[in-house]
Assembly symmetry: C2
Homo-oligomer: 132 residues x 2
DNA sequence: CATTTAAAGACTTATTGTATCCATAATATC
DNA sequence: GATATTATGGATACAATAAGTCTTTAAATG
């Protein structure tokens, strides 16, 4: 039970894009190099963010990635959900009705975490962390 | 990023033990059968709970497992930590000092979840859920 | 058209989760 | 003390997921 490295890469990349120009896209090569990850792999990750509608990609020369939404709209939870999926952290094969207390407790706990991630917008940290 | 099945088994087993006699131990065979898991595997999981000091095991005929602590002392977080470990959910290879905001946000989110799991004691659900 | 750059899919490798098997140790009961 | 019962530990096997590579295709630039 850990966040994947892909989530780590996605968060760092998004932070860079928030700090970058909203017009001129940043190439995946540059984004990958600063994180020590291969460009092709990072590209695969970023494609999921594109499909989630958070960033947009521009093919061709001088292409790359840039934000598609207002930076204030993007929360940590958005990014994490785009990468890790939205499935519940605690899954149980059986379904013993709504009265299941174990699931209730676990769900509540998860919601506490998600609530915090939802209330923290990417813009909150922008321009304060330029390295890596 | 999901809780493991082992955590699921551990939670259900603990709930049974809370409802069971605090003196007479319950055999792993019985505990395993009601959850549809093999006794040997469940035993391996329960050994971790023993080492965490939450339950104690009695070898020999009529042996098994029973609570070692007061039931009111045992929280969801205790069980989860015993199984999943206590490592942070968001790990980063680098260490860019305390000013790292990404880690700060992720850590806070995790703490929100843990706080809820810590405040929910096993005894809160006891004797209300006897099936499975 | 030639070059640059992202997208997509097939594929490989590494890591972790899930589970079984067996030998050993501990305990209760007779 | 002998025997049956029960948990423990190690080795091992299998499955699922994470992590990463490679190659080809598509789009944009100039
Ligand atoms: S009691 Fe709840 S968590 Fe447990 S098996 Fe039933 S539905 Fe699942
Ligand atoms: S900025 Fe924070 S999360 Fe990112 S690499 Fe540095 S320490 Fe890790």
């Amino acid at each position: 039970m850990r966040f994947t490295k892909a989530t780590n890469y996605a968060l760092h990349t998004m932070l860079m894009l928030v700090d970058a120009s909203p017009v001129k896209p940043v190439g995946v090569q540059q984004l990958a190099e600063s994180q020590g990850v291969s460009p092709t792999y990072l590209s695969k990750i970023l494609t999921r963010l594109v499909k989630a509608g958070m960033i947009e990609s521009i093919s061709g020369a001088n292409g790359g990635y840039r934000l598609s939404r207002k930076r204030d709209d993007i929360t940590f939870l958005d990014i994490i959900h785009a990468i890790e999926g939205t499935a519940s952290l605690f899954e149980c094969n059986f379904v013993h009705g709504d009265e299941c207390l174990i699931q209730a407790v676990m769900k509540e706990a998860e919601e506490k975490m998600e609530s915090h991630l939802k209330n923290t917008k990417l813009a909150d940290l922008a321009q304060r962390e330029t390295k890596v």
